[in-house]
């Protein structure tokens, strides 16, 4: 398989290696270090042994295993960590990337083929990285008569909105970027941005197919937002709160999908439409309107929109889990970590790592996150599966489905919720 290039010279290879190392060092010193400093100036640093740590101390301590730990602990508690790494963008992007890979492999399996196979030795696990590199290295072509500022801003806005959506999702108890009382309303507000961005992008491209695709996306998203919102009213009625964390906690005994299956189905279908997944991928209907509103996007602009849409997919799946499947709730099925490990540390070679008080080592957290990811994976599987099974629907059938059937069903769902309240099953003094 892999043979050396025909004009291989060891000296060229070595010199290219040293070149690379040189440039990495230069770039890190000129760009990386200043950025690190800027970040450290804004991070709230902890007091360690009655000494307020400043950025310079941080830089020197970060390489000391015992001193680095309190720093790490402090960093884990910052908002920055939440936004960038764990329940926020980084975690979501990781899940989005794995969703793309799983989607491709699963679709390939369904279609009796292999899928990504050669990149990364193990079943093509690095294919996504290769695709990303390809997109980064491609030229970005902007149509001559496009409205350039809006056209360039649209993908950024798209991914920003998707990230804002992700920020509202609680992953584990207490682990949410923005824990606001009107969480559900905030979700609807964020979802409302997507059609606007789509129309902006397609209009500013000044091209026919994006225009048709944008109009279709507008139709589709607006008409499916209404059943999307209505289908969640049942839960709001039953729980009496809009805070997503509280909604999760209200499902400690049973998830809402047991009592509101119709709402769950309506929400799922509306979710597929909002995500522009097959069978509702009309805005990107390839054989009709080339690539819909993505036609004129090229290079990393397209890559950003794709990343944004997969973030959106994760966020919607997570929202489904939070609302209907009980979020992080679930039995703890593995033995808890030993107390000694947490308090006295683990000896790895010459150094001993002590992790007292680290928030990530609590049982609650572990079990919560695992349950959450498992449930999200199941929902994502059912989001991905229709892509291999259904053809694309037509626009009039789609609007018919959205405006008549789903809205009707969501009203049925609301009545079920009201009936549950009035019959005394739920609510103050209820049976459950």
């Amino acid at each position: 398989m892999s043979i050396l290039a025909p004009k291989f010279r060891l000296s060229y290879f070595l010199s290219s290696l040293t070149d690379n190392i040189f440039w990495i060092v230069v770039i890190f010193t000129l760009i990386g270090l200043p950025i690190l400093f800027i970040v450290l100036f804004f991070v709230q640093l902890p007091v360690y042994e009655s000494e307020l740590i400043n950025p310079f101390l941080t830089l020197s301590w970060i390489f000391h295993p015992e001193l680095a730990l309190p720093l790490l602990k402090a960093f884990l508690l910052t908002d920055m960590f939440r936004i960038i790494v764990f329940p926020g963008f980084g975690f979501a992007a990781l899940i989005a990337a794995s969703v793309i890979f799983i989607e491709r492999k699963m679709l390939a399996k369904l279609q009796l083929r292999v899928g990504p196979f050669y990149c990364g030795k193990i079943e093509g696990i690095l294919q996504l990285m290769a695709d990303g590199l390809k997109l980064v290295s491609k030229e970005i072509i902007i149509p001559a008569k496009a409205d350039k500022p809006i056209f360039i801003a649209a993908p950024l806005l798209f991914i920003g909105t998707a990230a804002a959506f992700v920020a509202l999702i609680p992953v584990a108890p207490g682990w949410v970027v923005a824990n606001i009382d009107l969480g559900l309303i905030a979700v609807f507000a964020v979802i409302g941005f997507f059609p606007i961005i789509t129309v902006l992008s397609s209009w500013s491209a000044n091209s026919k197919y994006p225009f048709i695709g944008g109009i279709r996306a507008l139709f589709q998203m607006v008409s499916f937002e209404i059943p999307l919102i209505l289908s969640l009213l049942g839960i709001v009625i039953l729980t009496g709160t809009l805070n997503l964390s509280e909604i999760v906690e209200s499902q400690a005994n049973f998830p809402w999908i047991i009592f509101l299956p119709i709402g769950a189905i309506v929400f799922f279908v509306a979710m597929l439409a909002e995500l522009e997944r097959i069978p509702f991928d009309l805005p990107e209907a390839e054989s009709e309107i080339v690539a819909g509103w993505l036609t004129e996007l090229s290079g990393m602009m397209y890559g950003l929109v794709q990343l944004g849409s997969y973030l959106k997919l994760y966020a919607f799946a997570a929202l489904f889990v939070v609302l209907f499947l009980g979020g992080w709730q679930g039995p703890v099925f593995f033995p808890p970590l030993e107390e000694t490990l947490i308090h006295e540390g683990q000896t790895i070679g010459p150094i001993t790592i002590q992790t007292p008080g680290l928030p990530i080592f609590s049982m609650e957290f572990f079990s919560g996150v695992i349950w959450f990811i498992l449930k999200t994976a199941v929902v994502i599987f059912f989001i991905l599966l229709p892509r291999g099974v259904f053809p694309r629907i037509r626009i009039d059938l789609l609007l018919d489905l959205g405006w008549t059937k789903l809205i009707g069903l969501s009203f049925v769902n609301i009545f079920i919720a009201l009936a549950l309240i009035y019959s005394g099953v739920f609510g103050p003094g209820g049976l459950l």
């Binding site: 398989m1 699963m106 390939a108 399996k109 369904l110 279609q111 009796l112 083929r113 292999v114 196979f117 599966l385 229709p386 291999g388 099974v389 259904f390």
Partner: protein, 165 residues
């Protein structure tokens, strides 16, 4: 509800096929096995012998330089040119033999049909790519070489679907 059962059936069929064997032939590692040693023609009976129509193979000891293959190719692809060869055979007075340009050849096999002396066969070799167009022109000396092909994969059918073994 016909619609609901239809949707559930379709989803079920999709999930069922997740467990069926993959059909893909992983080409560079696996190569499909062909019938015989390639397409040949029997001038006495006027019927060909089934086989894959790949690169030609020329038997220098049988070629008489009669140009019939070149004439046959003239109406089809104009891929065959007759060139001088240094060898001197008794039956090849003009000392010319076909040289085939695989940039033009369409692998129809009419030249094999045209040869009255069993001198031109087709073989199972189809990996003819080259970095230059000149590399695609096979001289009589190159055509003489019997290709070394390792093709051993066949379609296998069992309960869990068909695969390339």
């Amino acid at each position: 509800m016909g619609t609901a059962t239809g949707i559930i059936k379709a989803l079920n069929s999709g999930i069922k096929h997740l467990a069926i064997k993959r059909f893909t032939l992983r080409y560079p590692e696996q190569k499909l096995k062909f019938v015989g040693d390639g397409y040949q023609y029997d001038p006495t009976s006027g019927v060909g012998i089934a086989g894959y129509k790949g690169r030609h193979m020329l038997f220098h000891d049988k070629c008489t330089g009669c140009q019939l293959c070149a004439i046959a190719c003239e109406g089809v692809a104009e891929a065959i040119a007759m060139v001088k060869v240094p060898e001197e055979w008794k039956h090849n007075k003009k000392a010319i033999m076909p040289q085939i340009d695989y940039g033009k050849c369409v692998f129809c096999g009419l030249c094999v049909d045209a040869c009255p002396f069993y001198a031109l066969y087709m073989t199972n070799d189809y990996e003819l790519s080259s970095y230059t167009k000149e590399g695609l022109i096979y001289t009589p000396a190159q055509l003489q070489v019997k290709p070394d092909v390792q093709q051993d994969v066949e379609i296998q059918i069992d309960e869990r679907g068909a695969t390339h073994g």
